[in-house]
């Protein structure tokens, strides 16, 4: 591949700039939709960008006793891992190099920010930060298992751990959303846990732990954290779309891109509606829901996929 094309792909489309714009757009859509669901007006379209610029311009303060190197590294690592995950994923229907097992690599890269989030709470040493970080780790073990098991239904159906093979199987047998609706809904639940959105927002419950692990962060580092979570939304949703819907289009087509973007907007709408409808779960309710209901359901679902 030509070097200039490669640079264009990495930095502009479907790389960093496209991801950034999509992330900010989806974040705006989320805030606007939740506001409208509440009967409020909601922010103007440039609000997420304005927030980001404001945070980057603000002073960067951390409490004394914080390990400054770690506090700077953690948001960078999580940001980098989400960006790296985006390069393995055919975002916006652009074909990417695929290998056996990139599904698992993607899972690992997407779960890195949660671990970094816990460590962020630990190194900043605030009371709320430590509690928020511990809560995120507690939640981690229930939704991560659910997400992996529910998503692996697609890998079982295609007989391969490669994203390209999952897509090829869908082109042959039709999109996986039709036989695997339950799996899709369960992986959406897992993704909500990963993104720490309501009703899985126990680690950043405002009325209990202020902002959870990010309480003590400010300025550039906080902006980077927010950007990471917004990018994680885009990459996570694209992952779901790729695994369940990618039989609908051919690669590198404009029509396919529009369907992809429409699905992204619809799924973000569903996430916003769930945020608006449901209240935060208690920790015991979350553990009960995930380990006693969702994960057995996922296992049954996977057995059903094996049988068909």
């Amino acid at each position: 591949m030509n070097l200039s094309v490669l640079i264009f792909k990495i930095f502009i489309f479907p790389g960093f700039l496209f991801l950034l714009v999509t992330a900010l757009f989806l974040h705006w859509l989320d805030r606007k939709l939740i506001a409208r669901f509440h009967g409020r007006v909601g922010p103007p379209w440039y609000q997420p960008l304005a927030d980001l610029v404001k945070l980057f311009a603000k002073e960067d303060i951390l409490p004394s006793g914080t390990n400054l190197i770690f506090a700077a590294l953690l948001p960078l690592i999580s940001f980098a891992s989400v960006l790296t995950a985006s390069f393995y994923l055919p975002i916006a229907i652009q074909s990417t190099p695929s290998f056996q097992g990139d599904f698992i690599v993607l899972m690992f890269l997407l779960s890195m920010p949660s671990l970094m989030y816990f460590l962020a709470g630990w190194v900043t040493q605030g009371v709320y930060s430590v509690i928020g970080g511990n809560r995120s780790l507690l939640q981690y073990f229930s939704y991560e298992v659910l997400f992996l098991l529910a998503m692996s239904g697609t890998a079982i159906a295609s007989g391969s751990w490669s994203l390209a093979d999952i897509r090829l199987a869908q082109l042959k047998e039709g999109p996986f959303i039709f036989p695997q609706v339950v799996g899709f809904l369960l992986s959406l639940a897992g993704l909500i846990g990963k993104l720490k959105r309501e009703p899985y927002d126990i680690p950043k419950a405002k009325s209990e732990v202020i902002a959870g692990a990010l309480t003590e962060f400010s300025g550039k580092k906080l902006a980077l954290w927010y950007l990471t979570i917004q990018l994680q939304t885009v990459v996570g949703l694209s992952f779901l779309i790729h695994c369940f819907f990618s039989g609908f289009w051919q690669m590198n087509t404009i029509g396919g891109f529009f369907i992809f973007f429409l699905l992204l907007v619809i799924l973000q709408g569903i996430l916003s509606a769930i945020s608006a409808i449901y209240a935060r779960l208690r920790i015991d309710q979350l553990i009960h829901l995930n380990w006693n209901i969702f994960i057995p359901l996922t296992l049954l679902h996977n057995i059903y996929i094996l049988l068909i």
Binding site: L33, A35, R36, F37, H38, G39, R40, V41, G42, A273, A276, I277
Partner: protein, 129 residues
Amino acid sequence: MNNILLKIRSYFYLLPNIVEALFSKPETIDYPAVTHRLSESYRGSVRIIAENCVGCGLCVRDCPAAALTLEKDSKHSFRLIHYRDQCTSCGQCELSCKFDSIYLNNTYQKASANRKDFFEVLVDKTMKK
């Protein structure tokens, strides 16, 4: 069976509400341009009928927030001053007044950064020297 159906319905019972909210007008008002419609009994700004005021000082004595002061030179020469930043709109002055002079109406003072807006001379019956 019925119980399970009810339970499943309970997970979605807010769905019609959010769909309705999505397609209806927002409740938010364009505040400085449009003001809230308040009920008649709403306790807002402190107003006075200056002719009725005799400067007895009952409102000043009873004000729990110490938002009223009376500057009295003689029996018929006084000034009643209201400090809006301290006032909690509790309505005690209205209850204490024996002459139906001081009352609260349903308007309110907009936020201000100007020092002069924080106090108001309600009655000025000082004798000109």
